[in-house]
Every structure is written in structure tokens, then in C-alpha cells.
């Protein structure tokens, strides 16, 4: 009996009822089974994704810093060379200080270039993605677009001033920088002209205004005033004084907080001096005078110290708290330095501010006013800044009788206020067009007006990988 039963069971059930359903089960569930998304990574496509891409300080706000060493603000004594050389970035800085033809070997990356184009890639991804994004219009969608436009414009403005001639009469033929506007790693773009780059910057910034909010949560998130501020800086570089005035004025209307250094001191923990000088506290929160946050990438490692050039020290008036707070006569071990030093974390470090501050807006407006022969208005702007920078006991109002006198004072103030923010080389380039004849002297090496080395070399590695890019004259 049992045998019979088993045999029947085997014939009917075994083959079909167990085995085939197993097959069917596996085939049927295949699509659901494979439809599982990885965690911790995304392909950015939504507005929220784009917003998050714009939240990374490392990617969005880090800026170039090699131009610092092509300036008359810095002094590198012989004794620091050895330790500088032992760091990869330090080596390039020393070469820059020596005005060498190339800062990097042909197998090295130039972080100034690499970082800038990464920022641009992110902006391009967002701006291209928004063209096909089907999410309904929202303020966040606008913000994302506006921010990407401002960051891209700011980055191109820095790049074109670092790696190309300053804006001038020959800009429509002068080679600027390659200008990708879409994310495409297979593109081999040639350099656009300086004018083309400026046109794009202007277009992006003007477009961004409509999308940006009046206020933003954090200083790394651009707002309307940020766009005005970058426009003001751009028009100043272009020599368009009216517009430089117009936009700096518009930005300053809402963003006019200037720290009064007289209320701070090294000894006061609640109003510590370190919290008003560049770089401290970090970046994104807390500082009220930042219109757009950007910082200089780290150039030096731990032990290395850069010093003020004597020329720069001489620019400071008595009682200038910027000098007191921003410099140190000795290193941290109290060894007296040959020139005052900028201790690493206090200035030339990751969080040295290089973006746009209310003070810069005031200085742009003052310069534009002086250029437009509005002498007294220019001087008024200067005084309103200086009052908060210079010890009350030493403070005296400045006066000027001619526009050119006023301009001299503005430029002197600009150099002091914006020291070590990466702006000096760009200023020297444009001021030499005015005939101010500024040379940079580093020891026996002199960079005289007209020297092609005022324009930094395009990284050799980039040229070896992309034959369409032409090197700057050396």
C-alpha cells in the first residue's frame, strides 16, 4: 500500500508541483528583487539634491591661493624655505615667490585650477539639470539656480584674473580660461577670450538676481546682495566705475555691518580679537560682515609661517587694530621673527576669508566715487570704515582735496583691509594699466610692469592632457 502511494505521489507531485513553482517564483520576483537603490550615494537629480550639493564648503567655497605669493604683501625669509619645501603645496608657493616659470611639475595637479573647475562642474550639473527638472517651481528651486549662477560667476572671475590678462582694451582677443558651461568630462575645450569670460560672468550674475532671496541662512549661501557684491567687484576690475558704484551701493544698503575692532581685544574671551580677524571663527556661521563666504585653500602645513613684507607693514597707520590683531612679532614659541608673521591659523590657512565682506563693498564704492571725482563722498566711506579699525585714541578723519588724492587713500586702505585675501595681484595688474607702475620685489627677483609672469602659468599637466589649451607666455 505504502509503496503504491509513494509511487503515485512521486510521479504526479514531485516533478511538477515542487520543482516548477520554484522556477516560476524566481523568475516572477526578479524585477522587484533588483529594484533596490544603494544607500549613502545618490545620482543628484532633485532640487533637494542640488541644494545639498551647494552645502559643501570644501567644494563650493574653497578658492585659489597661488596668487598670494605673486604679491608685494609677502616676505619669505631664507630660513623658512627648507621647511616650506617639504610640503607639496609649499614647494609651489616657494616657486611662486621666486617667480619661477612653472609652479608645478608636469605630473602634478595645480589645486587652484582643480578646485575651481570642480566648483564649476557642480554648478554646471545643477544648471543643466534644472533645464529638464520637472519639479514644480518653488523658492528652493529658484535659490538653487541663483546660487549655482553666483558660484560659477565668482569662480570664473577669480580664474580669469589669475590665469589671464586683466580686463582691458585687448580683452576681446586676449586668451581667458576654458569655460565649460555643461558637465562633460569628455570635452576638450580651448580657452575662451577674456571678454567672453567676463560676458558670461555678467550674464550669470544679472540672471541670478531674480532667483536669489533677500537673506540667506548661512554666509556660504548667496543672496541678492552677494550677486550685487560680485557684480561690483567685476565692474571694478573692468573699470566700469558707474556700475561698480551702482552695485556696491545696492549691496551695501542691506549688508553694511562692520565690526568695531575697538570693542575687541586679545584678553577679552567674550569679544576675543581672533573672532574679528580673518578666518576665525570658521566660515559659515556667526560672522555678520560676510556678504559671500569664500576661503583660501590651505597652502602650508603646520610649522610654516609667512611674514608680512616690510612694504605692507609700512602701509598701516599707528593704532591700526588690523595690524595688532592680524600679526605677531614672534612665532608661538616666542622666537622673534624677522618681519611680523601671520601665524598659520590666524591668516594663511584654510579659513582665511577670501569672499566678499561689507568692508570690501565700502572700498569698492569709495574707489568708484573717487574715480567719478566725488571726492568727499569717497573719503566719507573711508572714514566710516577706518573709525572701526583704528584705535579711538589714534583715530583722525582723513581728508582729501582732489579725486586723485582720494583715490590714493582708497587704494592704500584697500590693500590693508583686504591683505592676504588673494586680491592684491589682481589689483596690481589693473592698477598698472592705470600707470601706477607697481613692481613686486622678492629678494633679488623683480616682477616689473609688463612682465608676462603677472599671469600665472596654466598647469603643465592640463596642457599635456588637452592640446587645445595654449600656455601663457613665460
Amino acid at each position: 500500500m505504502l509503496n503504491q502511494l509513494i509511487k503515485r505521489q512521486m510521479k504526479i507531485d514531485y516533478k511538477y508541483k515542487i520543482l516548477l513553482p520554484l522556477f516560476v517564483l524566481l523568475l516572477a520576483s526578479c524585477n522587484d528583487f533588483l529594484d533596490v537603490k544603494p544607500k549613502g550615494v545618490v545620482t543628484p537629480t532633485t532640487v533637494d539634491d542640488y541644494y545639498a550639493l551647494l552645502s559643501s564648503p570644501l567644494e563650493m567655497t574653497r578658492m585659489s591661493s597661488n596668487q598670494l605669493y605673486f604679491s608685494d604683501d609677502i616676505y619669505l625669509p631664507e630660513q623658512f624655505r627648507a621647511s616650506a619645501n617639504s610640503y607639496p603645496n609649499g614647494k609651489a608657493s616657494v616657486r611662486a615667490y621666486d617667480f619661477e616659470d612653472y609652479l608645478y611639475d608636469s605630473n602634478e595637479e595645480d589645486p587652484d585650477w582643480t578646485i575651481a573647475y570642480r566648483t564649476i562642474y557642480i554648478c554646471n550639473t545643477i544648471l543643466t539639470g534644472l533645464e529638464t527638472n520637472t519639479e514644480p517651481a518653488s523658492s528652493k528651486k529658484n535659490i538653487v539656480k541663483g546660487e549655482a549662477l553666483v558660484h560659477r560667476a565668482y569662480t570664473y572671475l577669480t580664474l580669469v584674473n589669475e590665469y589671464a590678462n586683466n580686463y582691458c582694451s585687448t580683452s576681446s582677443t586676449d586668451l581667458g580660461v576654458p569655460m565649460p558651461l555643461k558637465p562633460d568630462i569628455n570635452a576638450q575645450l580651448a580657452r575662451s577670450t577674456v571678454k567672453e569670460v567676463y560676458d558670461q560672468i555678467e550674464k550669470d550674475l544679472l540672471e541670478s538676481i531674480a532667483y536669489l532671496p533677500d537673506n540667506s541662512d548661512y554666509s556660504y549661501r548667496p543672496k541678492k546682495a552677494s550677486a550685487y557684491g560680485v557684480l561690483a567687484r567685476m565692474y571694478l576690475f573692468m573699470g566700469n566705475w558707474e556700475k561698480a558704484y551702482e552695485y556696491s551701493n545696492m549691496a551695501y544698503k542691506t549688508d553694511n555691518y562692520i565690526y568695531d575692532f575697538n570693542t575687541y581685544s586679545w584678553a577679552n574671551p567674550s569679544n576675543h580679537a581672533a573672532s574679528v580677524i580673518n578666518g576665525y571663527p570658521s566660515s559659515s556661521t556667526g560672522k555678520k560682515d560676510i556678504v559671500l563666504h569664500k576661503y583660501l585653500r590651505s597652502v602650508m602645513s603646520y610649522f610654516f609661517v609667512f611674514l608680512f613684507s616690510t612694504d605692507l607693514v609700512n602701509q598701516y597707520d599707528n593704532g591700526d587694530l588690523r595690524f595688532e590683531f592680524g600679526s605677531s612679532p614672534s612665532d608661538y614659541s616666542l622666537i622673534v621673527l624677522p618681519n611680523p608673521g601671520i601665524l598659520d591659523t590666524k591668516a594663511v590657512y584654510d579659513y582665511n576669508h577670501a569672499g566678499i565682506t561689507s568692508a570690501e563693498l565700502l572700498l569698492i564704492r569709495a574707489e568708484a566715487l573717487a574715480r567719478l571725482s566725488k571726492t568727499q563722498e569717497a573719503i566719507n566711506d573711508l572714514n566710516s570704515l577706518r573709525k572701526k579699525r583704528i584705535k579711538t585714541s589714534d583715530y583722525k578723519d582723513l581728508t582729501a582735496t582732489t579725486p586723485s588724492k582720494a583715490l590714493d587713500l582708497v587704494l592704500k586702505e584697500r590693500r590693508v583691509e583686504l591683505a592676504f585675501g588673494g586680491m592684491r595681484l589682481f589689483d596690481i595688474k589693473r592698477l598698472n594699466v592705470d600707470g601706477r607702475n607697481i613692481s613686486i620685489k622678492h629678494g633679488n627677483n623683480i616682477l616689473a610692469p609688463g612682465d608676462p609672469k603677472f599671469v600665472l602659468p596654466i598647469p603643465s599637466k592640463v596642457i599635456s592632457l588637452n592640446p587645445n589649451i595654449k600656455q601663457n607666455p613665460r
Binding site: I6, C30, D48, I185
Partner: protein
């Protein structure tokens, strides 16, 4: 699938399962159907074996098996003897059944167990000294025959000078001649490797070698038993055993060169039919029955994209024994690794080191005026004291002289030792044909030569195969691994100052100086309550406790059901789970913890005292990693003879896989291991830049992290082989893999990988009959396409994160969008010949292959203007041409003396044929990072050395043969470089000799790699740990440039990387990396039966030495396997190893 039906299916399944358990004994009735016309008897016998399980044993003397016969027979339940009587009657064949083995002999040989005349008696044992039953003993002179019984005992009538031959299935035949003194002849028979190799195990199926079209290599456990003696990683045991397989010193395998640029070139490891996720250490080498390496396109199309680097198929022992007796097998291994010898590094003497360091100080590398900003060495300290006026010139000289007397190699015992390994393995196997079991346990305790590093592991393996009915087979297996490891970082002696001792005479830790706070400033901190700023590698070693515990389990179950004759449905399931938890506890005596405490010890104005903002106390880091995965595979296979001339062998199936990984890391502060308490601290204030001990702002960003991946795959595959007249076979296979990974663009998702192949068994042809010395001659060829997309993705991918200051969500790009990304493809041609001559005394195979790879994926260099400096992209095309030769020769086998040679030889020529975006830059060529057209993937170039300048500085020639100094503009012209050769050996192989005589066996194993190149070691001109004793020969005065190539110490001003590159990678340092190694020498002795007293069936004692002897083509005592070939740096010294092993069988 309706959910309601699930339980019913399971119910039904369980019911059937139970019924089958009851029924299994009832179902042993045999149904036999035979219908042959004009077929060789041999083929008929094979079919009977297949249907009934009876094996046939016969000697070559039985010519009748080759004759073609007509035979029809059907039976249901009739005694098997009916069949045999009918089959052998009238064919001059007599037979005798012993267990399930049928011995066949010509009729003139009388198979009798009792003999009348002079009787020769003895015992037949196998190579493991187990008694062999059913061995056919034939007296060639008298034509009488006999068979050994269950105890292996035989007796046969013979007279002096008669020749006896012993034959048994799967064993090499043994001949003896009876001497005048007739006595007991105990015979040991050895496994016939060639006979076993008649099958090919692909993991999916076992197919006869006669029909295989692909390239497969096979190693059995006899050889692996020698090469893997006391090993914990089976892969090392493959070294030099299989042609085309390269094993490096870490046990990483590479099959037939590199077909991918990406780092993962490891083959797929398949254990008992399943690719495993867990590491090699979960496989007990003693459990391995055999290993088959699949090398060509056929391999990949069976196993899918993961098989593009080849497949290693491991079959583990599956139990069973003669007569159902339980067999115990116990092995104890003791192994010693010699203490590493750091003289291998050619380190400079202390005196030379100090002379060099003094020169660097004089050149301003260290300026005593700056002593407050930089840490300094003891030599630096003397100069600082001199500068401060604390010592005189004489004091300085005396101090230096005292330091020159020291050398910390003398304290090597603090960090290194002779390392011992104990290993015990016990296995039990037994069971009947219906139920075979195998269980094993291995315990290994291993100390590393670096003190503080040790691990203990235990692997349990249980395997059971149940024949529920003749048609239904169930296999179950569990493999679990436990491993506890302790790791610590040891002092490497590569960098560091030779005069810097670690402990004083009383064992106190000595300062190592170079830490962040200069020596003379330290006491100022200690007055303020700071902890020590000293760092000492021995102290670090003694006060860190880094342990990891691993637990991994692999469970598998398989059901094979024969639906109808030759058609089998198999359902197999594997589940794996593994955990590794690591605890790293560092107490306050470690520099790491003291440093963090000190950094945030600051003066608090309001309290008027120094306070710690960072918790002071031991730091515990915990990391947890977990994986689990399962694979379910369902196949239907057909192995069927359609008619006399046509047979087919095919598999079709699906595979579903899931592999999930998960883990996280945590950190605890001031962890008290007794009280089990921890401290909290203000995370945000330290992460947001806080004032540190120097009054600077510094941040501490440690945050817990998590990862989780879930990879899923679904595959469809099929392969089929058709054989005509047992002579010609055509095969084909295809597979589609789908996954949930980013990489699978729908465009490529359904792109199958496939192969086709053919096989011609020439030795079976009529015209070969006259060549009787040819036992096997097979020609075979395959062609196929593999594909691989790896982890690359055409889509932009960004990783998630948090903005540390604002807690906003943040995304960071890790991969750019690249719509031009295509899967990598490789077309593989393989042509081979298998041969066996002279009664299988010489056998082997020769294969030629050509792999052409297109659209190779690599992390290609990008113009940074694109936004990325590198990205996964299609970069090049490449070919690998090669030849694999395997030869086994049984040179002597008589009178108890056996001499075997296993020889293999591999040749591989790897060449990049096209580069999509070439970079023609000298520095890139020297670095070897980018593929170059017409060169191997791992090429090596040199600068043309132009000697030292008059100032002792490095110079090279440019393309115009002009001398270029390191100071001039960089020499970027690739035409000025010298192409040296390849870094992967084009010729490689191994040879294993096996000599056996009366229980003794001696097995030397050689491996070699040849034809590759290296840069000889040169000293670094710096204090950063690359210095060798050549530093004494550096340029020191004008004129030295005529006698030395070692440059001057560079001055403190800017030095470009050209200096080092020009000098280190110059053509004067070119050398050959060829070597021959005696990788192991094994002597073993099997105790004679008479000493075993019936308690043991075998006792073997073995001694082995590893890494005993090396011949190298270079004259610099460089072991090329322990060396950075391109840059000329030494890596950790090779060590000798000795093993003593005892094996008991009972």
C-alpha cells in the same frame, strides 16, 4: 506567486521528504535498459556503470573491451548477475563482483581466492596506507588471478621470477617480480592522477575530459597536501602547480596575465558549486579534495562577469569509506617562521647615518635658531645645545661619537621573534553509499614574527550527502569559522634613526624626539600639568590592544532529482553570514591618546587654571562589520545518449544572489574597562575650532560612520555540449547577469557573455588504433566574449554627508557623469591539446591562448578642466598571448620505488595595443601610471643617466643627447627615455619532484618567474626613511662625480621632484628580476604497517622547509618578490619557515 500557496508547497515538500525517508530502502530495485548496436564493449560498460553504479576494473591485457558488440537487455529487479552472465558469456571474459566493483579478466586467468601451489601473500594499501579491497592481482606468467579482500589481504600462487601486476580503479598499476625467496609482498598503490583527471569539475557539472572543450587545470589533494602543509590559505598551495596561474607571496592569484587594468584581478573562488564571499581563511585546506582552475572564455560564460579573471573551483571531501567504516584522520603541525633579518634592507651604519645627518644640518635642513618650531633628533639636539652655548665643539664631537656607538637593530628583539604556529586538524569520514558524512575541525594558533600580532582560528566543517532514493540526493553542509586576531603596528626599521634606542638598560622607554613639541620645550609643558609629549614605538605597542573577532558561517543545502533518465533537476541554496568586530583600546600611555589630551589643554582665564577640553583617558574605537548573502540556483541538466552516435550534455538554469554588507564605527572617550564607563565632552565646541595649547584654533572632527550596501544579482545561463560518435564535441554557453548596481545601464543589461567550443578526440579514431602507445590525444578550442562593467557608472554619483558646522545635508561628487562609458569586453581564443602516452606514464596538456580586450576600464587621468582629475573610463585596448604547458611524468614506478615529475610552464605576453587618450610625458612614463601603446601594462622606463654634475647633482640626457640638469626645465620628452621591460614576469612556472621509496618520500618544489625587470636599490638622499648603506658613497667633494653616481646632499633651497626621479629611475639601476626558488622541500615517512599494531591504519611524519634557497639574476641579494621593482625599494624581508607534521589515520 500567491502567498497562500506558499505554506501548502512547503507542506507538500515536507510530506514528500518524510515519505522518501521511509521509502528509500524500498526503492533500491534496479531498472536497467540497454540497447546497443555496433558499440565498443567499453561504452556499454560505462552505461552500465551509470545506470547501476557498478564500476569495472580490468587491465590493458583485456582486449575484448575494445570490440564492438550488439547488446540488448532489459530488466526490472533481476539480479545483476543475470546481466553480467549474458554480457560476458562467449566473449572470453570472466568476472568477479567485489562490493560494487566488478573485476574483469580474460578467461584464461582463473580468478580464485584459494591457490594450491606456492603462495605469495601480502597486503595492498593505498597512498594513505589504508587497506585496499578489490585489487586485482594477476600473475602474468601463470595467467592466474586473485583479488584482495576487505583487509587488503591477498594470496596468489606464484613461483620465483614470476611477474605480478596489481590493478585497481583509479590507481596506478604496480608491477613486482617475485624473487627466489617467496615471501610476503606488501604493496602500496598510488592514486593515478591521470585517471582522476579524466573528469573536469566546473562547479556546475562534472563532465568527462573526453568532451571538455575549455582549458581546465586540475590539482588533487595529494600535491596540495604537500604545498599546503600547515598552511591556512589554500591559494598559497597553488604556487607553481598550475601553468598560467601566478601566486604572489601574499597568496593573491592571477590567472593568465591581467585582462583588466583595475585593481581587482582576483579570480572567482567557488566552493562546492558556490562562489563564496567569505575569505580564503574560512576554507580548511585539509578538507580540499581537489581544485580545478578554469582559465578560458568557457569559464566566464559559465560563471558570469565575475569570472573574467578566471575561476578557481574547489571540491571538498565528501565522506564515505570502504565498508562503511569510520575513518579518523588527525594531523598536528608545528611551524616556525624565522625572525626577519633586517640586514636585507642594507641599512646604513650609524656612523654613516650621522655623518650624513650632520651634513644636512650644516646645509640648513635643521636650523638650531629655529629649534622652537621644529622637532629635532638627538643629533639636532647636540647642535642646538652647541648653538645655545651649553656644550663646546668638543662636547659636540663627543656627543656625536657616543651616538655613533649605538644601533637600535640591537633592540630588534623588542619587536620581532621566531614565530611559532600550532595547528591541529581532525577529520572523521564514513557512511555508506546512501549516506556519506564528513566532518572536520581545525585549530590554528599563529604568532607573527612581529610581536603583538597573533591569531587563533577554528574551522568546523560538516558535510552530509544522503541518497534518499536512487533518484533523489540531498546534501547538507555547514562550515563555520571563528577567528580572534590581535594586531599591532611594529617598528619597521625602514625609517627612523639608527642611534635612537627604544629602551634603556632598565627597560624604560626612551624619547624618540621627533614629536611635535621640541625636546627642550617639553618640560615647560609638564610644569603646567601636560602629559608626556614623547612617542615611543615600543610603548605604543605595549599599550594598545587591538583585537578583532570574526565569526563566519556558510550553510548549504542541495537537492538533486533525476526526473527521467539522464535529466536531473538540482536546486541548491547557500547562505553565508559573517561578523567582524574590532576593538582598539589605547590607553593614556600611548602617544596618540596623550597627544589629543594635550592639544586641548588650555588656560582658562575665568578659572585661572589649565583645563582639559578633551576627555583625558583611554580611547576605545569599535568597528563592526557584517555581511550576509545568499545564492539560490536552480538548474536542469541533461546528460543523455540519444542514440549510439549522438549524446548531449546540457545545463540550463537561473541564479539569484544577494550580498549585503553593513558596518559602523564608534569611539568612546576615557573608557574604563573595569568600571565600564565613558566620558562625554562638548562635541560641537571642539569640532567648530577651539583654541589649542599653542593659542591657535584647531578642530577635532571625529564622527561615527555607517555604511550599508546591498548588491543583488539575477542570472540566466545555459550551456550545452553535443558529442558525435564519442569523437567530436561541440559546445556553447551563454549567460546574462543583471544587478541593481549603478553600473548597469539598461543598454548593456542584456548583453550576454558567451562562448563556443569544439573538441576532437583523435585517440578514439580508427587510424590511431595502431599507435598503441597513445592513450589519449584530444584537440580542443574555444572562443568567447567576456564583459565587465565593474563598479563604474555612466551616471553622476555623489556621496551623502553633513556640513559639520551647520548640520545641513551635503552631497559630494565621487563619480562624474560619463555617457560614453562602455563595458569592458575581452575576446578569448583558446586552443589546446591533451595527451597521455605509454599507459599514461606521460601526460599533460599544451594550451595557446589569445585574449583581446577592448574598452578597458581604468581610473583614467583627466584634464582637471573637466572638473575631475581622474575618473573611471574606457582607456585602452590590450592583448594577452600565452602558452600554458603542463606535463606529468611517471618516470619510475617499480619495486616500491616511485619517481614522479610535475612540470609546468607559462608564457604570457601582455601588450597594450591602443590608448584612447595617450599622455606623452616622461614623468608619467616613469611613474607607470598610464598605459602606453605597444608596451605591456606594467612597463618600466628609465632616464638615460648622464652622471653627476661637477657639483654632484643628478643629470640625464634629453632626446638630443644633451645633458639636462635637475635644475633646468623639466625633461618631459619621452624619446629620451630607455624602455627597460615588463614588471610582470612573462615566463613563470614550477616543478615538483616526488621520490618515494619504502615509505619515504622526498618532494622538492621549485617555482620560477623570469624575464621581468627591476630598478636596483639606491639610497635616498634624505632622512625620510629610504636610505641604504650607499649613502656613504655620496658625492662629497669635487671629483667624486667620476667615481660615484650617488648625488650630493641637496641644499636647503627648493628641490623639485626631478632630483629624486632622475636619479632613482636612471638606466644605471636597471636589472633583471628573474629568480628560481626552492619554495618547499618536504621529507615524509610512512611508518611500516607492522608498527601500527592494528590501531592505526597509517602514521606519517613529515618535515618541510619553505623558502630555503633562491637564485636571482641580480647580484644585489634582492628577493624580487619582496621588493618594489619599479622604484627600487625593499619591502619586508623574506623569512624561512620550517614545519614538522604528524599525521595519524585510525
Amino acid at each position: 506567486m500567491n502567498i497562500k500557496t506558499v505554506p501548502r508547497v512547503i507542506q507538500r515538500l515536507m510530506l514528500l521528504f518524510i515519505l522518501f525517508l521511509f521509502a528509500s530502502s524500498e526503492l533500491s530495485a534496479q531498472k536497467i535498459e540497454l540497447n546497443f548496436k555496433d558499440t565498443p564493449l567499453m561504452t556499454v560498460l560505462k552505461e552500465i556503470t551509470r545506470q547501476t553504479g557498478y564500476d569495472f576494473v580490468y587491465s590493458n591485457a583485456l582486449k575484448a573491451v575494445d570490440k564492438k558488440i550488439d547488446f540488448v537487455y532489459t530488466s526490472n529487479n533481476a539480479p545483476i548477475t543475470n546481466l553480467f552472465n549474458k554480457l560476458f558469456a562467449g566473449r572470453n571474459i570472466s568476472y568477479k563482483i567485489n562490493n560494487k566493483q566488478v573485476i574483469l579478466a580474460p578467461n584464461e586467468i582463473i580468478l580464485r581466492e584459494k591457490q594450491d601451489k606456492i603462495i605469495v601473500k601480502g597486503i595492498v594499501v593505498d597512498d594513505e596506507n589504508l587497506p585496499l579491497a578489490g585489487v586485482f592481482v594477476q600473475n602474468l606468467t601463470s595467467k592466474k588471478g586473485a583479488i584482495s579482500d576487505n583487509k587488503g589481504e591477498y594470496s596468489i600462487e606464484a613461483k620465483a621470477s614470476d611477474e605480478l601486476v596489481f590493478t585497481s580503479m583509479g590507481m596506478l598499476a604496480q608491477h613486482i617480480r617475485i624473487s627466489s625467496k617467496a615471501d610476503g609482498y606488501n604493496i602500496q598503490m598510488f592514486t593515478d592522477n591521470i585517471a582522476l583527471k579524466d573528469v573536469v569539475i566546473t562547479g556546475y557539472q562534472t563532465i568527462s575530459k573526453e568532451r571538455a572543450t575549455g582549458s581546465f587545470s586540475y590539482v588533487d589533494n595529494k600535491k596540495l597536501g604537500i604545498t599546503n602543509l600547515a598552511s591556512t590559505d589554500f591559494a598559497k598551495g597553488l604556487t607553481g602547480l598550475i601553468s598560467g596561474v601566478l601566486v604572489d607571496k601574499d597568496g593573491d592569484l592571477q590567472i593568465r596575465g591581467v585582462s583588466s587594468i583595475k585593481s581587482d584581478t582576483k579570480p572567482l573562488i567557488v566552493v562546492d558549486g558556490f562562489p563564496i564571499e567569505s575569505g580564503n581563511y574560512t576554507i580548511n585546506p585539509n578538507d580540499i579534495e581537489n581544485i580545478t582552475v578554469l582559465k578560458d572564455a568557457a569559464a566566464a560564460s559559465i560563471w558570469g562577469v565575475r569570472a573574467s579573471n578566471g575561476v578557481v573551483v574547489i571540491k571538498t571531501k565528501s565522506g564515505g569509506s570502504v565498508n562503511g567504516k569510520t575513518i579518523f584522520d588527525f594531523t598536528a603541525n608545528f611551524s616556525v617562521d624565522e625572525k626577519p633579518d633586517f640586514s636585507y634592507y642594507q641599512l646604513p651604519s650609524t656612523s654613516d647615518y650621522i655623518d650624513f645627518e650632520v651634513e644636512t644640518i650644516n646645509k640648513g635642513w635643521f636650523n638650531p635658531q629655529n629649534a622652537n618650531t621644529t622637532g629635532y633628533s638627538q643629533v639636532g639636539e647636540l647642535f642646538y645645545k652647541k648653538y645655545k652655548g651649553l656644550i663646546t665643539d668638543a662636547g659636540l664631537a663627543e656627543g656625536l661619537a657616543n651616538l655613533k656607538k649605538l644601533n637600535n637593530l640591537s633592540q630588534q628583539n623588542l619587536f620581532y621573534r621566531n614565530a611559532l604556529k600550532n595547528q591541529y586538524n581532525l577529520s572523521i569520514q564514513g557512511g555508506s553509499n546512501e549516506n556519506k558524512y564528513y566532518a572536520s575541525m581545525i585549530y590554528t594558533k599563529q604568532l607573527s614574527t612581529a610581536i603583538g600580532n597573533e591569531d587563533k582560528s577554528m574551522i568546523f566543517n560538516v558535510k552530509n550527502i544522503m541518497e534518499l532514493s536512487p533518484k533523489l540526493k540531498l546534501s547538507l553542509g555547514v562550515n563555520s569559522t571563528f577567528k580572534n586576531a590581535k594586531t599591532a603596528s611594529s617598528y619597521s626599521y625602514v625609517s627612523g634613526r639608527p642611534y635612537n634606542m627604544f629602551v634603556d638598560d632598565d627597560g624604560n622607554y626612551l624619547s624618540q624626539y621627533n614629536t611635535i613639541v621640541p625636546e627642550h620645550l617639553k618640560s615647560g609643558y609638564y610644569d603646567k600639568g601636560y602629559l608626556s609629549w614623547n612617542s615611543n614605538p615600543k610603548q605604543e605597542l605595549d599599550n594598545s590592544n587591538n583585537t578583532s573577532k570574526t565569526f563566519e558561517v556558510r550553510f548549504n543545502a542541495g537537492l538533486d532529482y533525476e526526473i527521467t533518465k539522464g535529466v536531473v533537476f538540482s536546486s541548491k541554496f547557500l547562505y553565508e553570514i559573517g561578523y567582524t568586530n574590532t576593538d582598539n583600546l589605547r590607553n593614556l600611555n600611548t602617544y596618540y591618546v596623550r597627544y589629543l589630551s594635550n592639544v586641548w589643554r588650555v588656560y582658562d582665564n575665568t578659572k585661572g587654571a589649565y583645563v582639559n577640553k578633551f576627555p583625558v583617558g583611554p580611547i576605545l574605537d569599535k568597528t563592526k562589520n557584517q555581511f550576509n548573502g545568499w545564492t539560490s540556483r536552480n538548474t536542469i541538466s541533461i546528460d543523455r545518449k540519444l542514440s549510439d552516435d549522438h549524446s548531449i550534455n546540457a545545463v540550463i538554469g537561473t541564479e539569484v544572489r544577494k550580498v549585503a554588507n553593513k558596518g559602523n564605527s564608534e569611539r568612546y572617550y576615557n573608557y574604563d574597562e573595569n568600571a565600564l564607563t565613558v566620558d562625554n565632552y562638548d562635541v560641537l565646541s571642539l569640532s567648530n575650532y577651539s583654541i589649542n595649547y599653542k593659542g591657535e584654533s584647531e578642530s577635532y572632527n571625529w564622527s561615527p560612520n555607517f555604511y550599508e550596501t546591498d548588491k543583488r544579482f539575477f542570472s540566466l545561463f545555459a550551456n550545452a555540449a553535443y558529442t558525435y560518435k564519442e569523437l567530436y564535441t561541440l559546445s556553447g554557453s551563454a549567460r546574462i547577469d543583471q544587478s541593481n548596481l549603478f553600473g548597469t545601464d539598461p543598454k548593456y543589461r542584456y548583453q550576454p557573455i558567451w562562448s563556443i567550443g569544439a573538441n576532437w578526440r583523435i585517440s578514439g579514431e580508427e587510424f590511431m588504433r595502431s599507435l598503441s602507445f597513445v592513450d589519449r590525444l584530444i584537440l580542443r578550442a574555444t572562443y568567447g566574449i567576456n564583459g565587465n562593467i565593474g563598479n563604474s557608472s555612466p551616471y553622476p554619483i555623489a556621496g551623502t554627508g553633513k556640513n559639520f558646522n551647520t548640520q545641513e545635508n551635503m552631497l559630494t561628487f565621487s563619480n562624474p557623469e560619463n555617457q560614453q562609458l562602455r563595458p569592458e569586453r575581452t575576446a578569448v581564443i583558446n586552443m589546446g591539446v591533451d595527451f597521455a602516452f605509454m599507459n599514461n606514464r606521460i601526460s599533460g596538456s599544451i594550451d595557446y591562448y589569445r585574449k583581446r580586450s577592448f574598452d578597458l576600464l581604468s581610473n583614467g587621468v583627466l584634464d582637471a578642466t573637466t572638473g575631475f582629475t581622474s575618473a573611471e573610463k574606457n582607456v585602452a585596448e590590450m592583448t594577452n598571448n600565452g602558452v600554458d604547458i603542463n606535463i606529468n611524468a611517471n618516470i619510475i614506478n617499480r619495486d616500491g620505488f616511485l619517481f614522479d615529475v610535475v612540470f609546468n610552464f607559462g608564457y604570457n605576453k601582455n601588450e597594450v595595443t591602443k590608448v584612447y587618450m595617450p599622455t606623452n610625458n616622461a614623468a608619467t612614463y616613469i611613474s607607470g601610471n598610464n598605459p602606453i601603446v605597444n608596451k605591456p601594462l606594467s612597463y618600466m622606463y628609465s632616464y638615460k643617466w648622464a652622471g653627476l654634475s661637477a657639483a654632484g647633482e643628478p643629470q640625464v640626457y634629453n632626446a638630443k643627447n644633451e645633458i639636462v640638469s635637475w635644475k633646468s626645465a623639466e625633461m618631459t620628452d619621452v624619446n629620451a627615455l630607455h624602455y627597460v621591460g615588463t614588471l610582470t614576469p612573462p615566463f613563470y612556472g614550477g616543478m615538483m619532484l616526488n621520490l618515494q621509496y619504502h615509505g619515504f618520500s622526498l618532494t622538492p618544489q621549485f617555482t620560477w618567474k623570469m624575464g621581468h625587470v627591476l630598478h636596483l636599490p639606491t639610497t635616498g638622499i634624505d632622512l625620510y626613511g629610504t636610505m641604504t648603506n650607499q649613502i656613504a658613497q655620496r658625492w662629497q667633494k669635487a671629483g667624486d662625480e667620476k667615481t660615484t653616481n650617488i648625488p650630493v646632499t641637496y641644499s636647503s633651497s627648493s628641490v623639485s621632484s626631478n632630483w629624486t626621479r632622475y636619479y632613482r629611475c636612471a638606466d644605471i639601476w636597471e636589472g633583471s628580476a628573474s629568480f628560481i626558488r626552492l619554495s618547499s622541500l618536504t621529507l615524509s615517512y610512512d611508518l611500516p604497517k607492522k608498527y601500527l599494531h592494528n590501531i592505526f591504519s597509517g602514521i606519517r611524519v613529515s618535515a618541510q622547509g619553505n623558502n630555503l634557497w633562491l637564485w636571482t639574476a641580480n647580484n644585489n641579494d634582492i628577493d624580487p618578490e619582496y621588493y618594489d621593482l619599479r622604484n627600487g625599494y625593499y619591502s619586508f624581508p623574506p623569512v624561512k619557515n620550517f614545519v614538522l607534521s604528524v599525521n595519524l589515520k585510525f
